[in-house]
Symmetry: C2
Subunit: 272 residues, 2 copies
């Protein structure tokens, strides 16, 4: 395996850019090939079989780019497909769920952890499953928040409607006196200030995107796969592919990544 | 062409069932093959190319069921793909947009018409284009309402949050003194009571689903394609296919169609 090869990162759309952003911040020497499945998003309301099939197509596409490792930057795809893909794959594959779960378990003081996510992620019970393996006594309370993604995409990050909806979703978690809350969807960190205000300062908010970048760096080090900082760059350091709406993606990516994204290429993911 | 063959109806998901319901009410003798693209929904935020490609795959699937005519029961797909598909097709194809536009133009008294829909439908400008052909002087004001579909799917049909969002979306149309409002997305008739209250009794609400069933009946009559009421039924009168989540679809379809839906078959639409 070429240690100077890029890392593949994928998501159902734009949310995974929050994971790419953390990787860029924490391990800036690495190259990234990002794929966003904008033609078939969202994944959160779809079935396990469908999300797993889509994930396999994306893995096949990323392998054509000779990636050395893959990050599933989508909670739903991590929940539904990570184990199967790891079993089939001869390169390392990590997902956002494990990193988030591990951090939550080590952060909680009273053992009561809340998880918010899409219907798919919450319905899969994956966070609870992983947390129980790490800490069998943990009490995990999960709540799906289907309106958060559309509210974020509508730009209502600081809005009375978002407050009202968030307040309804979170009330059931507040009643359980959780002291740690996992933001189990890549869009949710964009609602951090609303969630912080509603949950109060005592509750730790865990952002799996951050933790995933930490885990990726450890993984690359432990396998001798860190990129040589002196290696020449052959082309762009960061490459972006989507299945639809490349220009819209480019604008969004430029707005949340540290540098300008010059282009995004549209591919037909159904061909893979 | 076999006049006793079924009519094909498709949508990005469940919304088109409101069109199927109107067809069942108005021409109960007809057989229907319905396809909902639940693995790739929603269409409203995707590009013209992608929606047109998905529509062609669905047409190829419906043709394997030997349908005699096709109804595009999705405003976005009608906006992006109807003309191209009509040009390529040797069976009649109709869409919800034309029926809705025609009714709005004949309903308005002051010539000011509002259209609400998804980003795709509104961005395409298709309603304005069709209405201007029918009545060049009409003033058409379009407004996309991206949160309506998620709010309906979350079940918030009668809720203060939906009121607040609807009030924001509609204010720009009220300022124009429209007297006719086209519900240009198949989910929106489910918000009819909220829209009615906010717009007032003077404004005519046009439901393209209803008008499309009227148009279909006229089309079948004019082409001698009406089903013979006495013809024996070979199998179920109504057949349902989806690309994902068949059981969830069956429950939803049973809740809005007049009879019980016994089964929905999941197919891989990417194979077509």
């Amino acid at each position: 395996m070429d240690r100077n090869a890029p890392v593949g990162v994928f998501d159902s759309g734009i949310g995974g850019l929050t994971v790419a952003r953390e990787i860029i911040r924490q391990i800036p020497e690495e190259r990234i090939v990002y794929f966003g499945d904008t033609a078939r998003l969202p994944y959160g309301s779809k079935s396990r079989d469908t999300v797993a099939r889509y994930s396999r197509q994306i893995i096949r596409f990323l392998r054509t780019k000779e990636v050395k490792a893959i990050v599933i930057a989508c909670n739903t795809a991590s929940a539904y497909a990570l184990e199967a893909i790891q079993a089939e794959s001869d390169i390392p594959v990590i997902g956002v769920v494990n990193a988030g779960a591990r951090t939550a378990v080590s952060s909680t003081r009273n053992g009561k952890i809340g998880v918010i996510g899409t219907e798919g992620t919450v319905g899969s019970g994956i966070y609870k499953e992983v947390m129980h393996k790490l800490r069998p006594g943990a009490e995990v309370f999960e709540k799906s928040c289907p309106l958060f993604v559309p509210l974020v995409e509508e730009g209502l990050l600081h809005d009375s409607v978002t407050d009202e909806i968030a307040s309804r979703y979170l009330s059931v978690l507040k009643e359980k006196y959780i002291d740690t809350l996992v933001l189990g969807c890549t869009h949710y960190p964009l609602l951090r200030s609303t969630l912080r205000r509603l949950m109060g300062d005592e509750v730790v908010l865990v952002n799996p995107a951050y933790e995933t970048a930490v885990e990726l760096r450890e993984l690359l080090c432990s396998q001798g796969l860190e990129r040589d900082c002196q290696a020449p760059l052959d082309g762009e350091r960061y490459q972006f592919y989507v299945s639809d709406l490349a220009e819209k993606f480019t604008r969004f990516a430029t707005s949340i990544l540290p540098g300008e994204v010059k282009k995004t290429e549209k591919i037909n993911i159904e061909d893979y």
